[in-house]
């Protein structure tokens, strides 16, 4: 059979086109990602804080926890009852941005990489050892020309409960 040569540069460009195409499709799926932090050390009887790092696909934004309009869906993190008790969530300061679809009225949004802070109390009855706290992050994302349906994303934090 005839042998042909492999030209890395030429074929790499073609594969790049494929990758970009797949990337375009990926935009419609998940634009917000949770980057799990290292396990949180939680001492029984104290209040602890956990960072919830999030990254949003470039070009997209999510409404902040305090959107500019009643119709807009806020970012909201809620925790299910577990080994730790939620003591509130601190959201970062939102940015006020104008978009093609809202050129006059700035919207209160988060974009790029941002971090929420979740506070927990560790009950005196908590059992020492590894545990997890589970929550849901509800968000609604848009780019300059379209919006994606609201989504709820699972968020889990690993905890190491100590005396």
């Amino acid at each position: 059979m005839k042998q042909v040569r492999w030209f890395p540069g030429k074929h790499a460009a073609l594969f790049a086109a494929l990758a970009v195409g797949v990337g375009c499709f990926a935009q419609a799926v998940n634009v917000l990602h949770f980057n799990p932090p290292p396990p949180l050390r939680a001492k029984i009887g104290t209040t602890v804080e956990a960072k919830v790092p999030l990254s949003l696909m470039e070009g997209y934004h999510v409404n902040s926890n305090t959107p500019s309009d009643d119709y807009l869906i806020p970012l909201q993190l809620t925790w299910t009852k577990g080994a730790l008790e939620s003591a509130g969530v601190v959201y970062p300061k939102p940015r006020l941005e104008k978009y093609q679809f809202s050129p006059d009225k700035p919207l209160s949004v988060f974009s790029g990489n941002f971090e929420l802070t979740a506070k927990f109390t560790v009950p005196a009855t908590a059992a020492p050892g590894p545990a997890a706290v589970n929550g849901k992050l509800r968000y609604q994302a848009c780019n300059n020309t379209m919006c994606l349906a609201p989504k709820s994303m699972d968020v889990a934090l690993q905890v190491d409960i100590v005396k």
Binding site: L14, V20, S102, M146, C147
Partner: protein, 217 residues
């Protein structure tokens, strides 16, 4: 480093490359809003039938609009770009309703009429608005990005689709093309889109085969 490949492998690579470019064009057209996109009649597929309730509780059945050009807009109250388009659609409804044209708005709001009713009243929407069901979303390709708008010809076929904010002028041109084209329905060739552009437009059309299950809420 150089590696040897057989002809078969080369052809596989060429196929992958072509597929990649095709995927790229199709997927990026998915988000493109400004290309003229009235399809040739032979490429149009039947718009899936649905029955949904309007604000007054009356059934709205797509097939009742056979013979009219329909702008079918999926939207939601939380969608900023949708809010930009709604006044345009109000204008189109007012300007062309006597020329066998109708706008139908389908809201994706999860809490239904609780959000939709005051919003529609506030915006003074003059066309029929319904609240979707999951079944209708699926019929139209699993609507997930808003606004999503289909322009349906007099024969009930999808002539164009837009995902994301398009321009008022783009919509107007497409509507007028279809309204002015009533006498041409048997002759085809409404659009002169050729080659990759035609493929990309086809790739952007979510509507599947001519299935017509009826959904109601």
């Amino acid at each position: 480093m150089n590696l040897d490949f057989t002809v078969t492998k080369k052809r596989t690579l060429q196929f992958l490359a072509i597929a990649g470019i095709a995927v790229y064009l199709a997927s990026c057209s998915f988000y493109s809003t400004e290309w003229p996109s009235v399809k040739d009649e032979k490429d149009r597929k039947k718009a899936p039938e649905f029955v949904l309730k309007d604000a007054s509780g009356q059934d709205v059945k797509l097939s009742d609009y056979h013979g009219k050009v329909v702008l079918l807009n999926f939207w939601a109250t939380w969608c900023g770009p949708c809010e930009v388009e709604i006044p345009w659609f109000i204008d189109f409804q007012r300007e062309y309703k006597d020329r066998d044209f109708a706008v139908l708005g389908v809201s994706l709001d999860e809490d239904g009429w609780k959000s939709v009713r005051p919003f529609v009243a506030n915006e003074k929407v003059n066309y029929r608005v319904m609240v979707t069901t999951e079944q209708v979303d699926q019929l139209y390709g699993g609507v997930d990005s808003l606004p999503t708008t289909f322009i349906i010809d007099r024969e009930g076929r999808v002539a164009s689709s837009h995902v994301g904010l398009a321009s008022k002028n783009t919509y107007r041109k497409e509507i007028l093309t279809l309204l002015n084209d009533s006498h041409k329905t048997e002759r085809g060739a409404v659009s002169s889109i050729k080659g990759p552009l035609a493929f990309a437009t086809f790739g952007a059309a979510w509507v599947g085969p001519a299935v017509s299950p009826v959904a109601s809420k």
